[in-house]
């Protein structure tokens, strides 16, 4: 049976200037997208702007922070004009410290087994379900994966998490930290995250005559056509802005 060529999946409009055009309308609803970036590439800002734009249209959003305390995160993000503290007060933006969550779950240990992973996935999905979260950011999934001893368990964790969140209709950004080796950025720290995710957005730097220019590139996004070009990324007081990178400047 032939598919319907005119069928379009509903989109989660990120509201990030330039990104929805790159994605031809937004991220397909319920997708788990890996946002993999080097340090200072704008991952956290992009994630928070994504949540804030959802909250401004009345969506319940959640941020699980594993790399910095939520208080510090909010303090850093307050400098941006897109941030509206009333969304936190009104319960539309919900920020959780992973350390606190682990304490609740009795997971104060350095290595997780399969039961621990199941408990973590259940806790996250319970929160998403209870609050009715439609946009979620986990910052960073790499920090969580460091507690998981092997690739198969990491794969299980990400697969279960992605499946549960997708079932709940929650569009998720999984922030991943990557390193730049020999000028080439890898797309994930453990190599398995990129295979599980529905989409991959890479953030990094292009060095041009001793200066670093931030870029964003959508490498993969299931369920939508999208540009695969590199876009220059600038972090302004209003948030992330994107413009196509000059072609003669990409590889200099």
């Amino acid at each position: 049976m032939l598919g319907n060529a005119s069928y379009e999946r509903d989109r989660c409009i990120t509201g990030i200037r330039g990104l929805d055009e790159i994605l031809r309308g937004g991220i397909p609803y319920g997708s788990a997208t890996l946002v993999a970036g080097t340090c200072g590439s704008g991952k956290t800002t992009l994630g928070m702007e994504f949540l804030m734009n959802g909250a401004k249209s009345g969506e319940a959003c959640a941020h699980f922070s594993a790399t910095e305390p939520s208080v510090k995160l909010l303090e850093n993000i307050r400098q941006y004009s897109f941030f509206d503290m009333t969304t936190v007060d009104r319960g539309l933006i919900n920020v959780f410290d992973m350390d606190v969550l682990f304490s609740w779950l009795g997971l104060d240990k350095s290595t997780f087994n399969l039961d621990d992973i199941d408990a973590m996935v259940k806790a996250i999905t319970d929160i998403v379900n209870t609050i009715g979260v439609t946009r979620l950011v986990i910052d960073s999934v790499t920090s969580l994966c460091y507690k998981i001893p092997n690739e198969q368990l990491i794969r299980d964790f990400l697969f279960k998490l992605g499946k549960s969140l997708s079932t709940l209709g929650c569009t998720t950004l999984l922030i991943a930290e990557i390193t730049s080796v020999g000028g080439t950025a890898h797309r994930s720290a453990f190599g398995v995250e990129e295979a599980i995710a529905d989409g991959i957005i890479v953030l990094g730097d292009v060095e041009r005559m001793g200066n670093l220019l931030r870029y964003l590139q959508v490498v993969k996004m299931r369920g939508t056509d999208h540009s695969r070009a590199k876009y220059a990324l600038e972090i302004t007081r209003s948030g992330v802005m994107l413009t196509p990178m000059l072609k003669w400047g990409v590889s200099q």
Partner: protein, 194 residues
């Protein structure tokens, strides 16, 4: 008392917000030509705008304009030389944003768009000063690509673009591209010394 070039004001009555104007200046008259552009755009047409400065620092431009008697405080400056080239951004002006280097052409574009998005003024211009300064740091082909993008981006957003260059010091390929992309020309590149 400095007299503005009234021929420029007259010529600017013919342009629209989708125009792209190539501004040819000489090495000794650029300040006066630019002031003669800004003055009617702000005072006669009520326009606001962005001034991208790569030839000299933004404080220098502001002080020069103040000396001429032009208040440029409603203009936002994007300074490409003070931060990464000269290493100093301490000054009393709040209408300046900084870019690390004139090679960060995309940042220049995004910062410009950001300012225009936040402008309270309906009609805006962008002055790019100058192609010659940018050509010190950028190869001809990337500069030509940037100008192509810059002019068309401004045109699409109904922002008047004015691109300053000293023609006999501009790379030939870039100059021919400017001739092709720009809709208008203010030619003060030949300075007559009396």
């Amino acid at each position: 008392m400095i007299e503005f070039d009234l021929g420029i004001a007259e010529q600017l009555t013919q342009v629209t917000t989708t125009s792209s104007v190539q501004v040819r200046v000489g090495t000794s008259n650029s300040d006066l030509v630019i002031a003669s552009i800004i003055q009617p755009l702000m005072q006669n047409f009520g326009m606001g705008g962005v001034y991208i400065t790569a030839s000299q620092t933004a404080p220098n431009v502001i002080e020069m304009m103040n000396t001429i008697g032009l208040d440029v405080s409603p203009i936002h400056f994007i300074d490409c030389v003070s931060s990464g080239i000269l290493g100093g951004t301490q000054n009393p002006y709040s209408n300046i944003g900084y870019i690390d280097s004139p090679i960060m052409l995309e940042s220049m574009m995004l910062r410009t768009l950001h300012r225009l998005e936040n402008s309270q003024i309906q009609q805006n211009f962008v002055i790019l000063d100058s192609v010659n300064a940018l050509s010190i740091y950028n190869e001809e082909r990337i500069l030509a690509e940037y100008l192509h993008t810059f002019i068309n981006t401004c045109k699409n957003r109904q922002v008047l673009s004015l691109i300053v260059n000293v023609p006999d010091q501009t790379p030939a390929g870039v100059l021919s591209n400017l001739d092709l992309y720009c809709s208008d020309l203010i030619d003060r590149g030949q300075v007559v010394i009396s």
